[in-house]
């Protein structure tokens, strides 16, 4: 292929067929959702021509379905569209906050949770929030549908588990338990427009007495991929999420982190701050769960 091409299929079947056909013809394809990472990379890192396949005209990638079974979030739903859904934010406030933290208002008009996940940056904001919520990827491809846990979807820096011809259609989040809530925090040097230096997503469920019965803690920007930290969750389960428990979870996150030093922060700094964020996110999730937000 010596120049770029552009297609915008309008159904899942058409998209799957198009991708299969291009694969057969050995044409390189590139899925386009919001494009906020992909277009920058195509302009600066990898300029080689390819076929751009815009999935935003496929209904399944643009829908938000909230029901008793949980949430199904189309992979190309823009952050601004998600933020406008108060019903989703009531149950998954941390996920909505994570999506809302990505870039400016302008970026919010385009960037999607699915795209953020597929881009597979170690610092992707939605990834720890998705993992904390036990989110599952719904993938379409030549072999039909498959599902994969988010923590298994990202396999390296900028690498995901999609096979040739596959693409991410939606994310499925299980229904929230009673008295449960999530929270996501990241650290950036400014108030906006930065990439996370460290981040933490926490989901907790409480019993009638305020004792934590279930928890998931995921941290970002402190390893090649976002990490699920079971030790941090264990430190929370069975407690009332008091200062000591949150501090123990913080220590577990810091211990699990495998950060590097780069232009955005030092190894020491990231390790320390990811603990601070874990602690603060756990407190927010607890207060939300107690406040009956879930």
């Amino acid at each position: 292929m010596d120049s770029f091409a552009f297609q915008a299929p309008t159904s899942l079947d058409a998209a799957v067929a198009l991708l299969a056909e291009q694969r057969q013809a050995s044409v390189r394809t590139q899925i386009l959702a919001g494009g906020t990472d992909m277009i920058v990379q195509m302009r600066s890192v990898d300029r080689a021509p390819r076929m751009i396949v815009d999935i935003k005209r496929i209904p399944e990638t643009r829908s938000i379905q909230l029901g008793e079974d949980g949430l199904i979030l189309g992979s190309a739903v823009a952050g601004a569209e998600l933020s406008a859904r108060d019903d989703v934010a009531a149950i998954y406030p941390g996920l909505v906050e994570a999506a809302d933290l990505i870039g400016s208002t302008q970026i919010q008009g385009r960037a999607s949770v699915g795209g953020n996940l597929c881009n597979a940056s170690p610092a992707g904001d939605t990834i720890p929030a998705l993992i904390a919520n036990s989110a599952i990827c719904q993938i379409a491809g030549p072999g039909g549908w498959r599902e994969l846990a988010v923590e298994d979807f990202v396999v390296g820096v900028g690498r995901n588990a999609l096979e040739p011809g596959e693409f991410l259609v939606a994310l499925r989040l299980p229904a929230a338990q009673p008295r449960s809530a999530d929270a996501y925090l990241r650290f950036i040097p400014r108030t906006e427009m930065d990439i996370a230096v460290a981040s933490a997503g926490v989901r907790v469920a409480l019993d009638e007495n305020g004792v934590c019965t279930a928890a998931r803690v995921a941290i970002g920007a402190v390893a090649v991929t976002a990490l699920l930290v079971p030790e941090a969750a264990e430190a929370l389960i069975g407690t009332r999420l008091d200062d000591a428990a949150c501090a123990a979870a913080a220590a577990a996150s810091s211990a699990a982190a495998r950060p590097i030093s780069d232009k955005r922060g030092t190894e020491t700094y990231r390790r320390q701050v990811v603990g601070v964020l874990t602690r603060r996110a756990a407190v927010i999730a607890r207060d939300r769960a107690l406040g009956g937000q879930a």
């Binding site: 600066s44 300029r47 650290f187 040097p189 400014r190 108030t191 906006e192 427009m193 930065d194 990439i195 230096v197 780069d262 232009k263 955005r264 922060g265 030092t266 020491t268 700094y269 320390q272 701050v273 601070v276």
Partner: protein
């Protein structure tokens, strides 16, 4: 908002806040900036830039690149004439024409990552980019120097084999990376320190930062077979672009017309040339107009940032706070060619204070980074970051109020400035007093919050300016001048012309004309446009007025001595027997044909009397002790403007400079790899402040009239960036008990310091 303290006389329009004449163009998208011009047949150019921070160029092969369809011309260093050394005039001092030419296009060596090696013009940007990829260059990498200490080491590798340190008693035997040494002393410094009860001594570091103008450099050039060239470009000085380009290409100034476009920010960074000579050569080679626009990445890598610095400062004082001695060792990075703002740094490091003995020694140090350019009060923010941090520490050690300590040592009228002359009519004390009384200085602080105070100063300059005023038949006016309007100067020019001519502001239009239509003017910089070009506008208006008197006298058939200009009208002097009403500008303009033809006033001058501008800034911050993050929660800028012609634009200078300084203090820095490659060459990771980072920036304009200007104006554009570095640092120190001496005070750096302080 601001409250103006004014002692000035009765102006009718000066000091009001009308809408700028070019306002509509700028809010509707009609205004044309550097990249907005196109011509039929135009080609698009792209650069090949060095992947090494220091290397010898062994060979360049453009064969494959030339074969790309659509490629019309390629230039390399071989296409440029040799340019003899010589000091650049009109700039910030220290630069050299030969260096400028080599900076525009590398010859035998590349001296920083991003240094231009070749340029391609093609029918599309993509074709040009493809050709750039196919140019083959063989490099021999050389050792890379990225900081002052390694560049000044006795055995350091050299950037230039023939650079010898200037300013020493004798020419040194060996070449060096230190281009210049300068010393400034007064009094007996040993005795001064011996007399001191308290001595503060620290080393301060500031990083390479960028002006961060939002518009990348851009130009369009058209060469003609008659050897005449026209350049449209975004610049702070079209006449400077003309002289510099003519010098780099060894052409006559008469062969070059420079048309300044609207300019999307400069702050000193658009006072030199990077693109224009290359675009003209490409146009000559291809026979087609050529447009060159830098990417944001190129702006960071290959335009002129501001110097990183290392300053060792020592101050001594008596218990009562009187300074006894100050000393400073100041090294400024110049980048790959000589010419950092070390000289103004040495001159201003002690400027706010009356100290009996001092010694400052400055070094202009070459490193493998892009050649620095001016950035708002060049050299002063670094120098006064050191001085004002140390003064704050002194206040704390002495348990004195930081404003009282400064008042005790402040320069006043009649003080001998550390840089030489006696001060006259300066606002240092008035700014300090205003700060002391400001409600923001008394606001209670919460936990983890701290307040900082710092003083700012800039010399200000005058230099050459011209203006013409054309009077229309109905008595309205057009002002023609040559200084690109970078911050609302058209409004100030129109206000001054309207004030003099006694006509409404709305009746004055202002044209920023090209180099063939406007009289010569120096750069839009040095805080000189409202002062010096404004002075030319006032004089041009007064030229009109003297003509109006002559015309009115002719209409009345009386001697010109018999008439006066009063309140915007020509009147007969008391006792003169003229039976006519006073004549307005419109009355006389309508009859201009009868009295000698069109009315045209003009003035050209080399302005002197640019009074310095002092400022005091107050900053409150809150520091997150767990993450080291600093939030600025209140900021107050107080500055002497002499006379604010358009107070909103004066406040705008104060607010914008404050925020640039806050960025410099907290997050902005060039981050280099060991190989000298900038790792954060974009607005994502070169973190300039965004709207949500900031509070409102409170302003208070002080007006101590400058006796060197007819309205009392003094430049205000540069001083605002000087105080914030220390104001923020002092606030952080107050909030944390730390003593931060290295910028930026980024969260990792603050958290590390907090941890270290815990022990």
């Amino acid at each position: 908002m601001s409250e103006a303290i004014s002692e000035a006389g009765a102006f009718r329009q000066i000091g009001t806040r009308p809408i700028r004449p070019d306002g509509l163009d700028k809010v509707t998208g009609r205004a044309n900036f550097g990249a907005d011009f196109s011509l039929p047949g135009m080609l698009h150019g792209r650069f090949l830039r060095s992947p090494h921070a220091h290397a010898r160029i062994r060979s360049i092969d453009i064969t494959a690149a030339l074969a790309v369809p659509g490629v019309k011309a390629i230039v390399t260093g071989k296409d440029f004439p040799d340019v003899a050394p010589g000091d650049i005039e009109g700039g910030e001092g220290g630069g050299d024409y030969h260096d400028m030419a080599v900076n525009v296009m590398a010859r035998d060596k590349v001296l920083y990552h991003g240094h231009a090696v070749a340029a391609v013009a093609a029918t599309s940007t993509r074709a040009a980019e493809e050709a750039v990829r196919l140019i083959e260059v063989e490099y021999e990498p050389l050792p890379v120097l990225l900081d002052i200490d390694s560049a000044m080491a006795p055995d350091a590798p050299l950037l230039h084999d023939h650079l010898y340190t200037e300013g020493l008693p004798e020419k040194p035997a060996r070449p060096s990376n230190v281009a210049q040494v300068m010393e400034s002393t007064r009094g007996d410094i040993e005795a001064g320190f011996a007399e001191a009860d308290v001595i503060i001594e620290r080393t301060y570091l500031t990083p390479t930062v960028h002006q961060g103008y939002i518009e990348p450099h851009a130009c369009l050039a058209r060469w003609g077979q008659d050897e005449q060239s026209t350049v449209w470009c975004s610049t702070q000085g079209s006449f400077d672009v003309r002289s510099m380009t003519a010098r780099v290409l060894d052409m006559s100034i008469s062969r070059l017309k420079v048309i300044p476009t609207e300019i999307g920010g400069g702050f000193g960074g658009k006072t030199t040339v990077y693109l224009e000579p290359v675009a003209i050569l490409l146009s000559r080679k291809s026979g087609r107009p050529v447009k060159l626009v830098m990417t944001r990445e190129e702006v960071f890598r290959a335009s002129g940032p501001a110097s990183a610095s290392k300053i060792k400062l020592k101050i001594g004082a008596k218990k009562d706070g009187r300074l006894t001695a100050m000393s400073a060792w100041l090294a400024y990075e110049a980048g790959a060619f000589k010419g950092s703002p070390m000289v103004p740094g040495v001159m201003c490091v002690f400027a706010p204070y009356d100290v009996p003995a001092f010694k400052a020694v400055g070094y202009d140090v070459l490193v493998n980074k892009p050649k620095v350019a001016a950035y708002r009060a060049p050299g002063a923010p670094q120098a006064l970051f050191a001085t004002e941090s140390a003064m704050d520490e002194l206040a704390r050690v002495l348990n004195m109020d930081p404003i009282e300590l400064r008042l005790k040592n402040a320069v006043r009228d009649g003080s001998q400035a550390s840089y030489g002359p006696k001060f006259n009519a300066i606002g240092m004390e008035a700014c300090l007093q205003a700060a002391r009384e400001h409600p923001n200085y008394k606001r209670p602080l919460g936990p983890n919050q701290g307040r900082g105070v710092a003083v700012g100063f800039w010399f200000n300059v005058g230099m050459q300016s011209s203006a013409e005023i054309h009077i229309n038949e109905d008595g309205t006016a057009t002002v023609i001048e040559g200084n690109p309007d970078i911050g609302g100067s058209r409004a100030s020019m129109a206000l001054m012309a309207a004030e003099e001519l006694g006509i409404p502001y709305q009746d004055v239009r202002v044209l920023v004309a090209d180099t063939e239509a406007a009289g010569f003017t120096n750069v839009t910089g040095g805080s000189r446009v409202t002062f010096a070009t404004g002075m030319a506008v006032i004089e041009a208006a007064r030229d009109i007025i003297s003509q109006l008197k002559a015309r009115a006298a002719a209409l009345w058939n009386v001697d010109v001595e018999m008439v006066d200009w009063v309140d915007g009208k020509v009147v007969a002097r008391p006792g003169v027997n003229v039976e006519a009403d006073p004549l307005t500008l419109a009355d006389i303009a309508g009859q201009a044909a009868k009295t000698g033809g069109p009315l045209l006033g003009r003035a050209s001058l080399n302005a002197r009397g640019a009074g310095p501008s002092f400022s005091v800034n107050l900053c409150d911050v809150e520091v997150d002790p767990d993450t080291g993050k600093v939030d600025v929660i209140s900021y107050t800028a107080i500055q002497d403007a002499g006379k604010a012609i358009h107070p909103s634009y004066v406040e705008g200078q104060m607010q914008g400079g404050a925020v640039q300084g806050i960025g410099w203090a907290l997050n902005e820095e060039y981050i280099f790899s060991a190989e000298g490659i900038m790792e954060n060459a974009g607005f994502l990771d070169y973190r300039i402040p965004v709207a949500s980072d900031l509070p409102m920036i409170d302003t208070q304009i002080i007006e101590i009239a400058n006796p060197g200007h007819p309205y009392g104006v003094r430049g205000v554009g540069e001083t605002p960036i000087v105080a914030p570095l220390a104001a923020v640092a002092n606030a952080v120190n107050a909030a944390t008990g730390l003593q931060m001496t290295e910028l930026p005070m980024s969260p990792p750096r603050i958290l590390a310091a907090l941890e270290a302080a815990k022990g």
